[in-house]
């Protein structure tokens, strides 16, 4: 016998504010107290009917739910459970908002029905009523009270039909933590002579964005927009553009920042046309990291057959590409990761050995693995926590490539220690390898060739909505991610 549950409440907020939050099928990770993390699968938009949200509850359960309908007119949506660890069989739920015109508040009606086994009937009915629906009402009240909802409101209130030249962008309000990122509605200007306007469908999240946000790099001033990388479709072009046309699928990975946006107008000669086999979401997860790995392996230092190479953060976005590509070039690759779980990911991209950072003295282990010699190249984007160890791991005439500071700025060190090994130290900056259209073309051609040969594989990125940029940053900085992160406008 089917169980029908119908619960409702009145929320003291204008209906448009509440609907702006609820219509994002992936927003429950922000306001529902039971949900730990959530992502829409396959890079689909959160308002795509048929989209699947895959999420983890705080008790560890994994659930997948599919959006069945969404109506802005009725302010209603329905969804069903595809997979859950408990027998909520044939579970369908419908959420609907109605305005209370007498007091500018909102009536929220939430129904669920399912078909439980008899023995589980009471327990599951109570679970859905209390832990899902009632807890959701309470969580939303708390979310609205906390003020966190205000940040996402303007972003979500833009109806698609009004998009035109109006877009949403994520602004750096001041230097600081992820909370300084806020969404705002902006006019995206018409493309002038050499410019193109792109309707962006996927935006890459990179550590360089975190450095810009913290103020470590001065590429973006407060009030500006972060982001070096995105993919999408050309919407219109200026009169002097010859390399692309409206409708082309393109991507870019270059300064100046400004990619955290639903639309962008920029110089067309920095755009790269995408190979047919590469989706926009995959491209936004690959282009910057892949071109970085490309110049690190070919220009900054040369990884060759027989070279020994140490890659820190081998399960990270750039790390995975570096390892696989270095293997394809014939190098012997040792990876480090911050946890055993990530070590799995590092092994799967071909590392000959994977060390979990912090387990034991890194330099000692690396010397043991290399018959006492050390490694020819260290690729280190961890920074403060690894710099000393990286120097200690080098073989005579070895090369430390310090290309990031995820754990914090490297700080002041004496160059005298490099003399012990006649070591070379490089501190490459992405911008100087990608600041002309010619350099971009060379980098992207090399990457796409490597993609074709299998030396580079476009891993499926983890996706967040554009409005969740702050959450994506928190995940990246918290070392909770493997592979790349992409924001979906």
């Amino acid at each position: 016998l089917r169980v029908e549950i119908r619960r409702s409440t009145v929320i003291a907020a204008p209906i448009d504010d509440l609907w702006a939050i609820l219509r994002d099928f992936n927003s429950h990770a922000l306001w529902h107290p039971a949900v730990a993390a959530s992502a829409v699968e396959a890079g689909e938009a959160a308002d795509q009917v048929g989209a699947v949200r895959s999420f983890r509850l705080k008790n560890g359960s994994r659930i997948r739910e599919q959006l069945l309908f969404l109506s802005d007119l009725k302010r209603s949506f329905g969804y069903c459970i595809l997979e859950a660890p408990v027998p909520l069989r044939d579970y369908v739920a419908i959420v609907r908002l109605r305005p209370v015109t007498a007091e500018n508040s909102c009536f929220w009606d939430w129904r669920a029905s399912f078909n439980p086994p008899d023995a589980e009937r009471d327990r599951l009915t109570g679970f859905v009523r209390e832990n899902i629906i009632e807890a959701g009402f309470a969580g939303m009240r708390e979310f609205l009270r906390s003020g966190r909802a205000v940040d996402m409101r303007p972003a979500m209130l833009v109806p698609a039909a009004r998009a035109g030249a109006e877009g949403v962008e994520i602004v750096l309000t001041r230097y600081g933590g992820p909370e300084v990122l806020q969404a705002r509605v902006a006019r995206i200007k018409e493309p002038g002579g050499v410019e193109a306007r792109i309707r962006q469908t996927a935006v890459g999240v990179n550590f360089i964005d975190v450095y810009c946000r913290r103020g470590s790099f001065d590429l973006v001033a407060p009030g500006g927009v972060l982001g070096m990388e995105a993919a999408g479709v050309v919407e219109s072009v200026g009169a002097d553009v010859t390399n692309i046309r409206p409708g082309d699928r393109v991507a870019y990975a270059c300064a100046p920042p400004g990619a955290y946006a639903s639309m962008r107008t920029m110089r067309a000669d920095f755009l790269v046309r995408l190979p047919e086999a590469l989706s926009e979401v995959d491209a936004a997860g690959l282009l910057l990291k892949g071109m970085t790995a490309g110049f690190l392996l070919h220009e900054v230092a040369q990884a060759r057959t027989g070279s020994t190479v140490l890659v820190h953060a081998a399960a990270g976005g750039v790390g995975q590409i570096l390892c696989r590509w270095a293997k394809a070039l014939g190098a012997i690759v040792i990876g480090t990761t911050s946890s055993e779980a990530k070590a799995q990911a590092a092994r799967s991209v071909g590392c000959d050995a994977v060390l979990v950072f912090g387990d034991e003295d890194l330099a000692t282990t690396v010397r043991r693995l290399t018959s006492g010699r050390g490694v020819d190249i260290v690729y280190d984007a961890v920074g403060r926590d690894t710099f000393e160890q990286s120097v200690a791991c080098l073989a005579p005439r070895g090369h430390l490539v310090s290309f990031g500071q995820a754990s914090g700025d490297v700080g002041a060190h004496s160059i005298d220690r490099l003399a012990n090994r006649s070591a070379t130290l490089s501190r490459p900056n992405y911008v100087h390898y990608t600041d002309t259209p010619d350099k971009i073309r060379a980098q992207s051609d090399r990457l796409f060739k490597a993609l074709e040969s299998g030396a580079v594989v476009a891993a499926r990125p983890r996706t967040f909505s554009l409005a969740q940029a702050a959450q994506a940053h928190a995940e990246l900085e918290g070392r909770r991610t493997t592979g790349s992160l992409v924001l979906i406008p």
Partner: protein, 147 residues
């Protein structure tokens, strides 16, 4: 031609069954609204027979005839159309609906209408029906159940 739409809603501080027992009677407008002077059901039919016609007089003197189109105790809703009125509306259909607010044991009450009217009069009619009829009626229900 655009259809004019009126929407008004309120939260009544009482259980839905209690509110429904007051508003369910299609002949009870004089009991719960402040603007109806008297009402009768034509042909002496029961007030919950679909198709019955209520014939009522407003306190300002106007006479209105409305036909009951639907009534559902399960949904706690009813629909009706205007047959005759001094307002100058065509194809007027209204719906009155109650939904329980389960966490407080209160009631969400919603009153909507759609109609056609001369374009230059439409905004005024939407305003006056929404404010002077629906909002006033819902306000009276709220006051009646205020504790």
């Amino acid at each position: 031609v655009d259809v004019a739409k009126v929407y008004s809603s309120a939260v009544i501080p009482a259980a839905a069954t209690a509110v429904w027992s007051v508003v369910r009677d299609f002949n009870a407008l004089p009991n719960w609204t402040p603007f109806v002077a008297d009402s009768r059901i034509e042909q002496n039919r029961p007030s919950d027979q679909i198709g019955c016609v209520r014939n009522f007089r407003l306190k300002d003197g106007g006479r209105i005839r409305e036909r009951l189109l639907a009534l559902s105790d399960y949904e706690m809703s009813f629909e009706y159309s205007i047959l005759e009125s001094p307002m100058g509306v065509e194809n007027y259909v209204a719906t009155f609906r109650l939904i329980p607010v389960t966490d407080l044991d209160h009631t969400f009450a919603e009153w909507t209408a759609e109609f056609d009217a001369a374009p230059e009069r439409e905004d005024g009619l939407v305003q006056s029906i929404g404010q002077n009829v629906f909002a006033v009626g819902l306000g009276a229900l709220k006051a009646r159940f205020a504790r």
